[in-house]
Symmetry: C2
Subunit: 379 residues, 2 copies
């Protein structure tokens, strides 16, 4: 088990799945469908297993990966998907090799084939997608039957009856919206089913305005936590992709054209760190014309004050709503002033905003670490 491959961001796992499909090489996908108790990974966590390669991704903190690999090899042999549950409750003595586990973990294991490619394509195109799989069935809907939920519509759903899909639609909508996964029981006249609903979202888009050396550590950290990163330079000469090899995209434009640079939506995060006062001010002005709700601006309070004065000289007064979209000084208050420490504080803020979290110590916060998935459809 390679620790580097084990901790790969979700985007890299999906990219590896695509490569396996492209190459036509045998591969098995394992997905956590349910956990009880204290588990490291959540439902939806994925691992790709190939006969002669390191496993990619993870389903636990390292304690079940070998067992899952064994199951995957069986699945590869007979070509059939399967589901396995490991009950590690109170198993510390047995599993206690310093990487002990707790909880009950259920994993769906499936030989990969081309039917999974549309999921990869949807995610790459920036579209959320729900992948729905029958994992227990007393009905004619066979174990492993699958449907996709895209743009509010069921697609490729031949194996699952319409009434089941109808009942799953509200929960699936919500799970896809939140990028969460859960196993849902469905009662039908014919009998009961359990359906695993995997809400898969594209990475959150991050657009960084600036091409200085200090952009590099921000890109590096942002990629590790799986943002999709676009770097925008205002000087074409500096915009070559080689300077930001880890960025997904490197663009060049003029600050005046920022609003037209791309499709902007409210979930896209913008970081303004050109260090150039004029460029930053124009970028800020243009970004305020877009639906972007997070605009992080590097520099001290005083610099933003000067920017507001410059706006005022052009009779432009920011509304309270506009002010609330601007985060300056950028970043969380974590202290430290080295390049990586500054970048760390910025990306910590991006994570908190992307996940709609109030940054605070988890230990000082009420409630569970992971938001409980409480579906409206439960009520």
């Amino acid at each position: 088990m390679s620790t580097t491959a084990w901790s790969l961001p979700e985007t890299d796992i999906f990219d590896t799945i695509r490569t396996a499909l492209d190459d036509g090489s045998p591969a098995v996908l394992a997905t956590v469908t349910a956990v009880e108790g204290s588990a490291y990974r959540r439902p939806g966590a994925k691992m790709l297993i190939r006969p002669d390669e390191d496993d990619v991704g993870s389903v636990t903190a390292g304690c079940l990966e070998d067992e899952v690999r064994d199951v995957a090899m069986d699945a590869l042999e007979d070509g059939e998907p399967r589901i396995e549950t490991w009950d590690l409750t109170g198993d510390d003595e047995v599993w206690g090799y310093g990487v002990g586990c707790n909880g009950v973990i259920t994993v769906f294991v499936e030989p990969l084939d081309e039917s999974y490619r549309p999921v990869l394509d949807a995610r790459r195109a920036g579209n959320p997608v729900g992948v729905v799989t029958v994992v227990e069935s007393e009905t004619a809907a066979a174990f492993g039957s699958r449907a996709r939920f895209e743009s509010g519509q069921w697609v490729d759903s031949a194996g699952i009856p319409d009434d089941v899909l109808d009942e799953l639609a509200p929960a699936t909508t919500e799970l896809v919206e939140r990028g969460k996964a859960e196993t849902i029981p469905v009662e039908t006249a014919e009998g009961d089913l359990s359906v695993f609903v995997d809400g898969i979202r594209p990475s959150t888009e991050l657009v960084i305005f600036g091409s200085g050396v200090d952009v590099t550590p921000v890109v590096e950290l942002a990629k590790l936590v799986d943002f999709r990163v676009t770097v925008v330079s205002f000087r074409g000469g500096q915009a070559d992709t080689e300077r930001f090899p880890r960025a997904d995209e490197v663009l060049s434009t003029s600050p005046r054209d920022v609003a037209d640079l791309r499709a902007w939506d409210e979930d896209t995060l913008a970081v303004v760190m050109s260090h150039n006062f004029l460029d930053d001010r124009l970028t800020l002005e243009r970004l305020l014309e877009t639906p972007v709700e997070y605009i992080g601006l590097m520099g001290p309070h005083e610099r933003f004050g000067e920017m507001l004065e410059a706006f005022a000289e052009e009779d432009r007064v920011l509304t309270d709503d506009e002010r609330a979209r601007i985060y300056t000084p950028i970043g969380l208050s974590l202290g430290g002033d080295s390049p990586y420490q500054i970048a760390y504080s910025i990306v910590a803020e991006l994570l908190a905003v992307a996940h709609d979290r109030e940054p605070q110590h988890l230990s000082r916060r009420a409630g569970p670490i992971h938001e409980r998935v409480e579906l409206d459809s439960d009520s």
Copy 2:
């Protein structure tokens, strides 16, 4: 200018200085001594310049590094230190290549020689040190005269009069304590001086208990933000350094011997993530016997609740003070549940605790980003 070398953690910069001294290869050290206005780096920021190598470290966000290199080459030629001030106020049009700068930045530039080695040795040995340099003088104390302040004592201070050192002692004590740097004016009967006081601290010590794959991303991120990282395994077989190549130290012990593992002080941060309930509980118990003030424990609230019950069964009830030292669930609330996202949240908490910061958006916080260095001796 290599962006990787530009953003190197301080420890790596000091290590590169040591290598240059060991090799006897020509090298120049540049240190920011003062900034006014909006500057990316703070006083004390360092860059090492060598004739045929990439510069290491940084003094600005990339806009002055080339100029500083030129000055360094001059210093290498005549063997003399110098100080230069760049006034970039309102210079956006000139410096505005997408990496514009603001503010007034003063940099002390000195050819490196063996006299700097004790600074490296002190830091490596875990001892804070003050490096005091005359950067302006109307007196007999020559420009570039230097003294060190170690364990409350002046060392190698031949070039600076005792009365000046006496006056500098309180401010130096405080700057060393806080790891900050500042240029301080001193008035003497003979005339005025400016003295740059560089408070250099060793990296904060981080000790991680656990040897699972999920430890690796925590080590990686912690090293980027310059913690000194020790990984402690409870199973000798897993403790080989190869598994954690980025850790400074990999140790193996029994949970019962944790308190005697090393010298513990209140500034050392401990992270408990063996995943093994028994090992975690014993480690926690032993750590509470040490002065360590931050003990981060991985796992949900419920798991800690079970641990408290296990303590209670042995008639061990934690005091409020003990409870306050335990951070569980570990990490800041940033959302996300991939291995790097979990590690990111942990290291964000470590940074905030190490710097005594309340984690919150800098934009929502009153006051400057960097704590103003207000010396008691000013009053």
